[in-house]
């Protein structure tokens, strides 16, 4: 008899060996993390954001440490979709975890083109549509800031791809539930949130913003309370599953997101600080499920909403 895996779950038609996924852009294309733990522990590998053309990323300082947080301004440095497929997919296909490709466009057409290109690529299990990147001039977050724009991008990608469609939302909005409903109606199979909060820092000696692009994205433990609140709100607003992320660093954090309603949870900044974060959280969640007396962690999903 097979040993029952209390962390196994499914999301948008994919079966995941655990609710733990990588947060896009914090784990490259999984090569580096594979040196630290068995990637099979991951429910899915969400790769660094891919664009149509290669991008060299932003000039100048890209990282600022803040209290319990990190501001980044990477600017979607990536080899472009073609080189990603030829250079990274062969390695990724060999891993024992579904691969979710995070895509970003400057225009609606670019999103459509990316969806089309990735649709039939062997080993690509789902698309995560990033409508929330704060680090590129045009596009990016603009799509995530209005229900109409968010829905349009979703519809378009839906038209160009058969793959399960995850839309990644920006937290820099007044009404996250409204955006979530809009992308659900437009055909999203799942929602992931949150991307980074827009933040900045100023060098008090040069008197200039530290980042060339002035603003960057705040991630890490500092933003966890906000992320958890948004996951809780979105869980109530939509029927499709939610991938929760934002500052998750311990199994306790992951448990909170699951109780708030997350089907899966993304580990981002924590893996960068501690490449063993995923296995540590994996172990902790397993023990937690047992202590809570559930056979599968999914039984705890959304429990915080019960009266």
């Amino acid at each position: 008899m097979e040993k029952i895996n209390p962390l196994a779950t499914s999301l948008a038609g994919l079966s995941l060996s655990s609710p733990l996924v990588t947060a896009s852009g914090t784990c490259g294309y999984a090569r580096e993390l594979s040196e630290f733990f068995d990637l099979g522990m991951l429910g899915a590998i969400v790769v660094k954001g891919i664009t149509l053309a290669p991008r060299t990323g932003n000039p100048g300082t890209r990282l600022i440490e803040t209290p319990a947080g990190l501001i980044n301004s990477i600017g979607l440095e990536n080899p472009g979709v073609e080189k990603f497929i030829s250079g990274e997919m062969p390695f990724l296909r060999q891993q024992h975890a579904p691969v979710i490709v995070n895509i970003s466009g400057n225009t609606e057409e670019e999103y459509a083109a990316l969806a089309t290109r990735l649709d039939k690529v062997v080993g690509v299990s789902a698309l995560e549509v990033n409508i929330s990147c704060p680090n590129v001039k045009t596009g990016g977050m603009a799509f995530g800031a209005s229900t109409i724009a968010a829905a349009r991008v979703t519809t378009l990608v839906r038209q160009h791809s058969q793959l399960p469609l995850i839309v990644k939302l920006s937290p820099n909005v007044t009404d996250i539930a409204a955006i979530a409903r809009a992308v659900e109606e437009a055909g999203a199979d799942a929602i992931s949130l949150i991307n980074t909060l827009l933040g900045m820092a100023i060098d008090i000696e040069t008197r200039r913003p530290i980042l060339r692009g002035t603003f960057g994205g705040l991630s890490g433990p500092a933003i966890k309370p906000v992320a958890l609140r948004m996951v809780y709100q979105v869980f109530r607003a939509v029927k499709i599953p939610v991938i929760g992320m934002g500052g998750i660093s311990t199994w306790q954090d992951a448990a909170e997101f699951i109780l708030a309603g997350a089907t899966a949870v993304g580990i981002g900044t924590a893996s960068m600080v501690n490449p063993l974060a995923v296995p540590t959280i994996h172990q902790g969640l397993q023990a937690y499920a047992t202590r809570q007396g559930v056979r599968n962690i999914a039984e705890l999903r959304g429990m915080a909403h019960q009266q």
Binding site: G28, E65, P221, T269
Partner: protein, 267 residues
């Protein structure tokens, strides 16, 4: 890609001593890292078990003792991370990752090497000198400091046969002036087969220009704020001299050939 699979774990503090008014040497017992480490590589240390400061702090390997299974870092207390590290006690458990990055390339002709160090840039040269002296290669170290308080390592380097010439603007060194002026003077007097430099950005930039002019191949050890040290975040960039894209200091470096780096970059 890093050259070795890095080790991530807990190491015990064997020693943490002040070697100059603001400079400390931390020695950790970590046989895995000691066994794999090469000169010029670095380790990434968590200064606190809490989330503030959040990021690890990178330090060059200053001692690699395979026999004892220990490594050391030589660090200057400049902010809160290094302040916390200076409080590490004997026997305390430290969370670190290493060895990280690419070290110095020592497979090039290097009968007579030249080191150029600025301030804490002195840190990686002792293990490099050990490798060179094991091969009977000679080395000269030009070492620039602001004042006598910044001096470390001189006698250690001399013990293993390195000729150390210190430069300072306050007159405490052998040479009165900038280390790059001393470099210019030295390059006129002597021929070297390979140069290695580590120190502040402006110093490295000037060193590159001087060595280029003197046709001396030069490797530079670079710094950058790092979030992961592992190639995950792509945050630790410096521009390539091709003017097109970026090196990632934690994986492509921290040691790069000077000619490959565009030093005109500023934050």
């Amino acid at each position: 890609m890093v050259e070795h699979r890095p080790h991530c774990g807990i190491a015990e503090v064997v020693e943490n001593i002040k070697v100059a008014p603001k400079i400390w040497r931390l020695t950790l017992c970590t046989p895995e890292i000691a066994a794999a480490a090469k000169p010029g590589q670095f380790v990434n240390i968590r200064a606190s078990s809490q989330y503030d400061p959040l990021l690890r702090r990178p330090f060059s390997l200053n001692r690699i003792d395979r026999a004892k299974g220990t490594i050391s870092v030589l660090y200057r207390v400049v902010g809160r991370g290094t302040e916390l590290i200076s409080l590490f006690r004997l026997g305390e458990k430290v969370d670190l990752i290493g060895p990280l990055g690419k070290g110095f390339a020592t497979s090039h002709p290097r009968q007579n090497s030249l080191f150029v160090a600025g301030g804490m840039g002195i840190a990686p040269f002792f293990p490099l000198a050990q490798v060179l002296s094991a091969d009977k290669a000679t080395a000269t170290c030009l070492y620039g400091v602001r004042c006598a308080d910044d001096l470390a390592e001189v006698s250690h380097l001399e013990t293993i046969g390195v000729k150390v010439v210190t430069a300072s603007e306050d007159g405490c060194g052998h040479y009165h002036g900038k280390v790059t002026d001393l470099l210019a003077a030295t390059l006129c007097q002597e021929d070297f087969s390979l140069g290695f430099a580590c120190g502040p950005h402006a110093m490295l930039s000037a060193t590159k220009d001087l060595c280029l002019a003197a046709k001396l191949p030069l490797q530079v050890s670079l710094e950058s704020i790092m979030a992961c040290g592992l190639g995950l975040c792509l945050g630790c960039t410096c521009p390539k001299s091709n003017g097109e894209d970026y090196w990632h200091i934690c994986t492509d470096g921290p040691v790069l050939w000077a000619e490959e780096v565009d030093f005109a970059w500023r934050r």
